[in-house]
């Protein structure tokens, strides 16, 4: 017993005294320095107390250890068996099993009720059913294996009268528990594979609402197509202060592209979210819709989904009048990674069209004149070059 020697030693007492003294010293010192320091400094008193608390905790542990040791020895002197630590551990195992079971149940009910509400998109419903199936199967395995583990520990605790059962292997049972998980996992794989295919293997369909979302440190930029329903081309080399997304305005599809602050989505319409990034990798994460895809610079991607509940409906479902859908960043991207969000609002198609009509195009009159000037300059240069060539 390591700590016996420690406690036997008079050093402990002196250590205790020293700590008390330094504690008071710190207290005194605090009085003088606190007045001298202008800005709020470290409260060394409380730091000292925490250290003292830790030391007292250690001493308490040592004392308990000592008491147990003394008890153990006195029992042995009287010819009785001392503390049977092995049995004690076995009992704690079973106590842990019961307490752990209660704790798990408590966590499932309390924390379990805090998880995301029902999926607000069509494909999300499939993901949810997949999730609940997997949860059902795995929870059975979890509960059964943990119960077996800890109850075996209790039941088969050491006894001098018994010998363990020599059982090196049993091929039948090993085959059973290789094949059984294989079958269960095959079912999950097939189920999951088809769900995944359905979610990701989506073709471009006419009538999809195309929305561009571009990540940058630390904001999301949205671009909606104008009346022509088409988004124009982009080129990162065109990015300047007045054209933050690098929209290529020589493409006539881009002249009517609209800017937006909030992501409005029409309910029950297929949305095609075109995802890009200006600088580093971000991740478009819309948990309520079960949507996530990284925004990778140089690799344009898209995610298609169909919202099925409007914001209003979701507010009623969650019983929270302030509920908002959100899109936020889920890939580490720097200092303000933790605050890179945008509100998403799902509305009826009529409301959506109304809202869209009010949005301003990226090509502002100011930008138009600026581009015109640039055009003229470019023309001048090219005529000069022609002249030179001649």
């Amino acid at each position: 017993m390591g700590f016996n020697k420690l406690i036997d030693n008079k050093k402990v007492l002196s250590l205790c005294a020293v700590l008390m003294l330094t504690g008071t010293n710190l207290l005194m010192a605090q009085g003088t320095t606190a007045a001298a320091a202008e800005k709020p400094g470290v409260n060394w008193l409380s730091v000292g107390y925490y250290v003292l608390l830790f030391v007292l905790g250690c001493i308490a542990v040592a004392i308990i250890g000592k008491i147990l040791r003394v008890y153990d020895l006195s029992q042995k002197i009287q010819g009785k068996a001392g503390i049977n630590w092995n049995n004690l551990m076995a009992v704690i195992c079973i106590v842990f099993l019961v307490a752990g079971g209660i704790g798990t149940y408590w966590s499932f009910t309390v924390h379990g009720s805090m998880i995301l509400p029902e999926a607000a998109s069509v494909h999300g419903a499939k993901i949810d059913s997949m999730f609940w199936t997997t949860t059902g199967i795995t929870m059975v395995v979890f509960v059964v294996t943990q119960i077996l583990l800890f109850s075996f520990l209790f039941v088969y605790r050491h006894s001098a009268k018994r010998r363990a059962y020599y059982l090196p292997h049993n091929n039948t049972i090993e085959k059973v528990w290789t094949i059984a998980p294989a079958i269960v996992l095959t079912v999950l794989v097939i189920f999951g594979f088809f769900t995944w295919q359905e979610v990701t293997n989506t073709k471009e369909v006419k009538g999809d609402v195309n929305i561009d979302i571009t990540g940058e440190q630390f904001a999301w930029n949205l671009r909606y197509p104008g009346p022509d329903g088409l988004l124009g081309k982009k080129n990162y080399k065109l990015i300047v202060g007045s054209n933050k997304l690098g929209i290529d305005f020589t493409d006539k599809n881009s002249t009517d592209d609209l800017k937006a602050d909030t992501m409005f989505l029409p309910v029950n319409k297929s949305i095609r979210l075109n995802i890009g990034s200006k600088d580093i990798i971000h991740s478009v994460y819309m948990p309520h819709f079960r949507v996530q895809l990284n925004a990778v610079p140089g690799l344009p991607t898209f995610f298609k989904f169909t919202p099925r509940y409007t914001t209003e409906q979701m507010r009623q479902k969650t019983d929270d009048p302030k509920f908002e859908y959100l899109v936020y960043c889920n890939k580490i991207c720097g200092s303000s990674h933790y605050n890179m969000q945008k509100v998403v609002r799902v509305v009826s198609e009529a409301e959506y069209n109304q809202w869209l009509a009010k949005q301003q195009p990226y090509l502002t009159p100011a930008l138009r004149t600026e581009l015109k000037l640039a055009e003229v300059k470019k023309n001048n240069i090219s005529t000069n070059r022609l002249a030179l060539n001649n």
Binding site: G2, F131, T138, Y156, A164, Y165, P168, G246, V296, K331
Partner: protein, 628 residues
């Protein structure tokens, strides 16, 4: 052949036979030692030091998560500009997370675990005098030590340590203007990692060649303890996958410092259009995870091997399904090379690939399940002794189950869409590879402490350490699953900016306090460890009544491990509680001819002469019985 090779090596070192004590200087004994036992101890102590540092870092960011609006002036005193006004800087928070992850995964659970126990146990359990190349073994440690020093030195530079997460995805890690942590700190990270990988490779090559070439007489592959199988396969895994990370890291160094664009394209940072074109950030992720996934098995397989051995010894029962245990380790080794894409389901990788990786990923759950069931069958009808090592081995199994099960969610591409990079992932890998592997490591420390230091550790403190850590780890990581299911992302500096996340604040406080208590419990271990090295009770030759070879070696350490000839091996390492045997264990070095009463036909599978002997013996026994 193995003994021959050993003999040659010995002759080169000392001319007058085995077991001769060198006159060693302090430097050659404790610093630049070439003895595998000392190198193992060096790895262990460095690993424990790094683990404590990484643990303190985690407590720092846990405090930030629990009290995002409170200022702690003490933090400013300790951390200076990294915690202005007593609150952590958001970029320093990311650095803490990054360095915590890097140290724990690489420096503690790879080098600290494999480095310690492969070095200590491979020669002792296969019956060799030392590693195949003791000099390379020494280099392996010193490269590791250099890597540690470089990694920690990044705390003392102006902009602080690397910050883009332990996975260091470019472009964030490649653009020094994108964040402070991508500056000098990132360069140091990369240099440190190159040293680390060199160390791992030298270690790994040594482990593989020692296991293959230097086993003692009679020690065929199917007589090796599961620990050796685990270390052997881990080393193979490391040797094959770590070089790929070097490739990835070197290309990243080129991108950062020499203007190439392997990983970069179409980038505008702070309004400045970058000239790089044509690279792909996804390429880095492929290279990283080609190591990164095998890496998690590099971390967990030694823990599995150690736990198997300890559970068998302390249940006084053979490990159930030894062959199945080995084949499942081999299965995990092979499969782990083709599952890396499950870290990349939502990166924009071709969805078809996602589907393929999902299938391979869920297949790897089968060998893991087999192992779990075999552990349960091992303790079933055992005669269980609760040494601290046994408790930690059991804790490892419990964590492996709890964390492994959530892997089935994350390995499913469809479910991963919503769970990727949330706290669900944090909970998953901290249980299945963090806690499980560290418990495997602690089990090993408690179990082989007598072998390492010739002293016993204190059991009662071990019990206290176990229960506080075990319960604490569950309290820390269990609630995190639900945060993930609520869509709370990992690596967020604070949850204050989201109305929907503020309700998790109370859970965060709870988690932080659980983390602090389990961190304090580690001091019980630290005290026990240091105190026992110097003042612990002296050990006996075979304190756990185990069968394996290392317990036949003398307690006092000397270069060469055994006086005289290395013992020969006659049987597998798991003959515990064999019916008919006098004691409940039979050493591997006991010939079958000395244990006639306990032999079974199975012992003579490839040995017809022996089988005949056995049937002769049984018939004489029967005849004797009848005479009586």
């Amino acid at each position: 052949m193995s003994t021959l090779a050993v003999h040659d090596h010995e002759v080169g070192h000392h001319d007058d036979g085995h077991g001769h004590h060198h006159k060693e200087t302090f430097i050659s004994k404790y610093v630049f030692s070439m003895d595998h036992k000392m190198i193992g101890k060096q790895f262990l102590i460095t690993g424990i030091t790094m683990a404590f540092i990484a643990m303190i870092l985690s407590i720092l960011f846990r405090i930030q998560l629990a009290y995002p609006d409170t200022a702690f002036p003490l933090l400013e005193t300790l951390l200076g500009r990294f915690a202005p006004e007593g609150r952590l800087d958001p970029e320093f928070y990311l650095s803490l997370v990054t360095i915590h992850g890097t140290i724990m995964v690489f420096f503690v659970l790879t080098a600290g675990l494999s480095g310690t126990f492969s070095n200590l146990l491979i020669p002792l359990q296969v019956g060799a005098r030392d590693m195949a190349s003791p000099f390379m073994n020494m280099l392996s440690y010193w490269f590791f030590f250099t890597a540690c020093v470089i990694m920690l030195s990044s705390f003392f530079i102006q902009k602080g340590p690397a910050g883009p997460g332990w996975t260091i995805y470019p472009p964030l890690s490649a653009l020094p203007t994108a964040m402070k942590g991508s500056g000098m700190g990132m360069t140091l990270w990369l240099i440190s990692m190159v040293f680390f990988i060199a160390s791992s490779l030298m270690g790994g090559i040594n482990y593989v060649s020692t296991v293959l070439n230097m086993r003692t007489k009679g020690m065929d592959l199917w007589k090796m303890p599961l620990t050796i199988w685990a270390f052997f396969l881990t080393a193979i895994l490391g040797v094959l996958s770590f070089p790929v990370l070097v490739a990835g890291v070197v290309l990243l160094i080129f991108d950062r410092s020499f203007g190439t664009s392997f990983y970069l394209s179409d980038i505008v940072v702070n309004g400045q259009i970058m000239p790089m074109e044509g690279g792909s950030p996804i390429l880095f992720q492929h290279l990283f995870w080609f190591l990164g996934h095998p890496e998690v098995y590099i971390v967990i397989m030694p823990a599995m091997g150690i736990s198997s051995e300890i559970m068998s010894v302390n249940s006084r029962k053979p490990i159930f399904g030894y062959h199945a245990m080995v084949y499942s380790l081999i299965g995990i080794t092979v499969l782990s090379f083709i599952v890396w894409g499950h870290h990349m389901f939502v990166t924009g990788m071709n969805p078809f690939l996602g589907g393929v990786f999902m299938i391979t990923t869920l297949i790897i759950a089968v060998p893991s399940a087999v192992k779990t069931f075999n552990w349960l069958a091992t303790i079933w009808r055992g005669n269980i002794r609760f040494t601290p090592a046994m408790l930690f081995a059991i804790g490892m199994v419990s964590f492996f189950i709890s964390g492994g099960i959530t892997g089935i969610f994350l390995g499913n591409a469809a479910l991963d869409i919503n769970l990727h990079d949330t706290y669900f992932v944090v909970a998953h890998f901290h249980l299945v590879m963090g806690s499980a592997a560290i418990f495997g490591m602690l089990a090993g420390v408690y179990h082989w402490f007598p072998k390492m230091f010739g002293k016993m550790m204190d059991d009662k403190l071990g019990y206290l350490h176990f229960w506080l850590t075990f319960i604490g780890a569950y309290l820390v990581f269990f609630p995190m699953h639900f945060m993930g299911l609520d869509g709370v992302p990992r690596r967020y500096y604070a949850f204050t900016e989201f109305v929907s996340m503020q309700r998790w604040l109370s859970v965060n406080m709870f988690v932080t306090w659980a983390a602090i208590i389990s961190a304090l419990a580690q001091f019980a271990f630290l005290y026990n460890f240091i105190h026992s090295i110097f003042w612990g009770k002296k050990t006996i030759q075979n304190p756990w009544q185990a069968n394996t070879l290392e317990w036949t070696a003398p307690i006092e350490h000397f270069h060469g491990n055994w006086h005289g000839e290395i013992p020969s091996v006659y049987r597998w390492p798991y003959d515990y509680s064999k019916p008919g045997a006098e004691e409940d264990y039979i050493l591997q070095t006991t010939p079958l001819s000395q244990t006639m009463s306990s032999n079974v036909p199975h012992d003579f599978e490839d040995n017809p002469a022996g089988l005949e002997e056995l049937s002769k013996w049984t018939s004489t026994q029967k005849a004797n019985e009848e005479v009586k």
